[in-house]
Amino acid sequence: MTAPVSQTNKADIAAPHVAGPILRFSNIAKTFRDGTAALADVTLEVQRGEFIAIVGPSGCGKSTLLRIASGLSPATRGQTESSYTSLGYVFQDATLLPWRTVGRNIELLATLQRRPKKECEELVRYAIELVGLTGFEGHYPKTLSGGMAMRTSLARALTLKPDLFLFDEPFGSLDAITRERLNEELLRLYAIEGFTGVFVTHSISEAVYLSSRVVVMCGRPGRVVKEYSVPFGYPRSPDIRYGADFAAISRLVSEELREVYG
């Protein structure tokens, strides 16, 4: 149904060590300067090519974990090992620069990396086609809907052909239908690009639909309390969301979360 699936060989070529985790947190703790303990003893491994989802209550340190993974903020204790060659990071907001058009926004990261102009243009064209933004290159962000802005943000990250892709609740502020649609698109991109995905979300169904493993965290301070593996393969049909198996896993995760929320 969808484009040719399975891992593209891109990730394997890019990675010097094909086997083994692309990201490993060992006993990570993070205390902010004001004394708030955000994370306490998080140990988590992400295998190359897998797509994991992290769910948990607000303030449980999910986003902090991504910031540590990306190097944006250091951990107070513990070790982070990563072996990605290129990192994609999509934030809660689309974080588009309002003075740049869609096309120039998508081009931004490639220019920041001082890629040659011709290569930049090619990467931009590729990413724009991939997320379906053809024809919108000249629009300014203020004229975009939330979904289009998020597509632009995705395309911007895709220009770097990331082998590790961090998502920090990217679709949280979108309406339900746009959100579902973008989830489907994301799975399609995952199939084409073969990146490793770490997806932070509040939504249980989003987590189960996208990932092969759901990690449940609890808050204050943040810890991993449980992991569930999702028994669906890829590519996934949007219809699995309405099946009994899907409901069963969602229920397990939901019950765990209820306990966590207290």
């Binding site: 974080t95 620069l97 379906g132 203020k142 004229t143 809907s145 489907e184």
Partner: protein
């Protein structure tokens, strides 16, 4: 099969096409809007002229009429008499030149300082209090000192006007440079952008809207300072301030009022030029930006 690429876009951009429609409508409606925008102020001006006539002819006795001569006399004496009008234009040119040069200096110095302050904390800590102090100093107080040092001349007028108009540019630029969105800063940091790249591609563009509001305030101050210093420093071509002073002392009220109207026009023209430039540079993307003549 191949339609999968980007298949979802056309549905979710529904809101976007809806957004595009009012923009087109805006262009079509421009003509009536222009009338709506320019009409009311014109009516108000006409009413003022009417009241002016009333006061001049019925409020004042013929002996007192020199206090407020009727508009037609002002036009006759001030604008239609070429010698008189030429004198006013010359003075305006002199004042305008002072204001423009001072504006250029203060923009350049102010923005440079603001950039340095935003890049190095110690510069901000050491210089910002001084900038505040400079602002609280009543500028008439520094005229004698500047005149004493640099001569009661053209250059002193420029120096005073520059000092007066510096502060709004510094504060507004600094505010703009510092209010970069944290998420944008993260994005640039994540991709190892150098300090120069961050300044050029992130901080300065983010600061543009506040830079422009600083420029607008300080342009006004430049004009005011140039006119007021004319009162004190009157060598060379007299500025419009000197001329106003002269007309007042000679009871030449027609020419006084004509000169006043021209001064107001100078201020309006400068304001409109800056607004037009701002609109051209940031109007496309900055949503809270206001059109030169009212918002729409």
């Amino acid at each position: 099969m191949s339609t999968t690429i980007g298949s979802g876009a056309s549905e979710s951009d529904g809101t976007n096409t809806q957004n595009a429609v009012p923009v087109l409508g805006d262009i079509r409606q421009r003509r009536p809007r222009l009338i709506r925008r320019v009409g009311p102020p014109i009516i108000v001006v006409m009413c003022c002229v009417g009241i002016w006539y009333l006061v001049s002819y019925f409020g004042l006795s013929p002996q007192q009429r020199f206090l407020l001569p009727p508009p037609n006399q002002v036009v006759e004496q001030g604008f239609l008499n070429w010698q008189n009008f030429h004198q006013i234009l010359e003075a305006l040119r002199s004042t305008g030149t002072v204001a423009l040069i001072a504006f250029a200096f203060s923009s350049l110095i102010g923005m440079t300082f603001a950039i340095l302050m935003s890049e190095a904390n110690w510069i901000e800590r050491s210089f910002f209090p001084l900038a505040v102090a400079l602002q609280t100093l009543p500028f008439l107080a520094i005229v004698p000192l500047v005149g004493f040092w640099f001569g009661y001349d053209f250059q002193s007028r420029i120096i005073v006007a520059t000092i007066v108009s510096l502060f709004p540019i510094i504060t507004n630029t600094l505010f703009g440079l510092k209010s970069v969105e944290p998420a944008h800063a993260d994005l640039f940091r994540l991709h190892h952008a150098t300090r120069w790249i961050r300044l050029w591609r992130l901080k300065l563009p983010s600061a543009l809207p506040s830079i422009f509001s600083g420029l607008r305030i300080s342009a006004g101050l430049c004009v005011i300072a140039a006119i007021v210093t004319d009162f004190f420093i009157q060598s060379g071509t007299p500025g419009i301030g000197g001329l106003l002073d002269l007309f007042a002392s000679e009871l030449e009220s027609e020419r006084l009022i004509a000169a006043l109207i021209m001064t107001a026009l100078l201020g309006i023209v400068i304001y409109l030029v800056i607004s037009a430039v701002a609109h051209r540079v940031i109007g496309k993307w900055h949503s809270s930006y206001q059109r030169p003549l009212g918002d729409d």
